[in-house]
């Protein structure tokens, strides 16, 4: 009798212990299930968001080829983000001239007037060709939804004939005003400086990438006729747009 009672008590204690252990194990497995469920599909979602952004930027690039230069003359840019930008400069161009036509003409400078290489400076040689203005006005409008969502962008041109280890597709053109951006911070950092009588200018996209930004970029071939060669050959450029999420705030000059 003595042995039977002792065994029964131990058995009941063991049963309660087993029950509690079972509950503990179930709680742990439930925690794992919740951890799995909370992260389920996040990567796919992230990939699809990036795919949307890339598709949006590709649409921006395609639109630049079709939008008429005169169509962007009505855009009113804000001075803080786009200083010295007068979109009215493009109003007299006929509808057959697209923004990309003006940019290609602007980048087709001959070496007589541009010994340092072609520049995006609103000039074709010594004639007015407001490609830079048209591109800035167009991108200001086309990138508006992304800019409102806190994204900053750079648009720049790479020279395919000059590949570098950092940029195998080609080195970014180095000229004053050749980087089009809505980032005041990186815009300043990407301005050209003269070192040893040579113009040195970092790529805007690479600057942002090196600063740790999560960069998305799209690029397309952008051939510009070499007018000095009688128009028989073309300079092979790449038109690149990159975006990144930024907490950079824009302050008006008066503030």
């Amino acid at each position: 009798m003595k042995t039977h009672g002792s065994q029964a008590r131990r058995r009941s204690q063991a049963a309660v212990f087993d029950g509690i252990m079972f509950l503990l194990l179930v709680s742990m497995s439930c925690t794992f299930v919740f951890v799995f469920v909370s992260s389920y599909g996040q990567q796919e979602d992230q990939v699809m968001r990036s795919a949307y952004m890339l598709n949006y930027m590709q649409s921006v690039m395609k639109s630049v080829y079709f939008i008429g230069a005169a169509s962007v003359s009505g855009i009113a840019p804000d001075e803080a983000t786009y200083p010295n930008l007068d979109c009215k400069k493009t109003k007299d161009y006929p509808g057959t001239v697209s923004v990309s036509d003006l940019v290609k003409r602007d980048l087709g400078d001959p070496s007589q007037t541009h010994p340092n290489g072609p520049a995006l400076d609103d000039m074709f040689g010594s004639a007015v060709s407001p490609g830079r203005t048209a591109l800035r006005c167009t991108l200001k409008e086309l990138m508006k939804p992304l800019a409102f969502s806190g994204y900053r962008y750079f648009a720049e041109f790479l020279d395919q004939r000059r590949p570098t280890p950092e940029s195998p597709s080609g080195k970014a053109l180095e000229q004053r005003g050749v980087r089009v951006t809505n980032s005041l911070l990186f815009g300043k950092l990407a301005e050209p400086v003269t070192r040893d009588n040579q113009l040195v200018q970092p790529s805007g996209c690479e600057l942002a990438k090196n600063a740790g930004a999560n960069l998305l970029s799209v690029a397309s071939p952008f051939r510009v006729i070499d007018y000095m060669g009688g128009g028989e050959s073309s300079n092979r450029y790449i038109f690149r747009i990159c975006v990144w999420q930024s907490n950079e705030t824009i302050r008006s000059p008066a503030a």
Partner: protein, 171 residues
């Protein structure tokens, strides 16, 4: 009251001693089943959302294959590609094309993207009468916007200006 031997105190029989352990076991089983059911419903909901997003991206790739668009081109593409894709993906969709020649203006009305009567052109796998803005909005659709070149300054102009394509997909 007869006094029980001290070694038998607390002993309520072979079955009675197991009753306290049954409560944590039952609670554990219920918790586990409840968690699995909840997890399965969340995974199914997420999968459905991902499928809708995938379908919306697929429709977007089709509709933005060129950088320019007018109503005739949208109509042709609608009949040849978009409706078939939407039906095969088992989603309902509206693709609207808007002209915003003066520059993009964002609507403050949340139901504005569903208003096909105000659009320059639209495509859907639903009849016009079945497109009710409030009902679509209640289904939390995926909405994607893309820039495109459209005829400007008039709807029949040969020149191109700013336009926008809205891709709205739901199930």
């Amino acid at each position: 009251m007869p006094k029980r031997p001290s070694l038998l105190r607390g002993f309520v029989g072979p079955l009675g001693d197991d009753i306290p352990s049954i409560f944590p076991i039952v609670a554990g089983v219920l918790l586990f089943i409840g968690t699995m059911a909840y997890a399965a419903s969340l995974v199914a909901e997420k999968n459905s959302y991902l499928e809708i997003r995938k379908a919306s991206l697929g429709l977007s790739y089709l509709v933005t294959e060129r950088g320019q668009m007018n109503t005739e081109e949208l109509g042709t593409m609608c009949d040849s590609k978009l409706r078939k894709y939407g039906t095969n993906s088992r989603v309902k969709f509206i693709v609207t094309l808007d002209r915003q020649c003066g520059g993009y203006v964002f609507d403050t009305d949340p139901l504005a993207p569903y208003d096909v009567s105000a659009a320059y052109g639209y495509c859907s796998n639903l009849d016009a009468a079945a497109i009710v803005a409030s009902e679509i909005s209640a289904r939390s659709p995926v909405i994607l916007n893309y820039p495109v070149a459209v005829p400007c300054p008039n709807a029949d102009s040969p020149t191109e200006g700013f336009g926008i394509i809205n891709v709205i997909v739901w199930r």
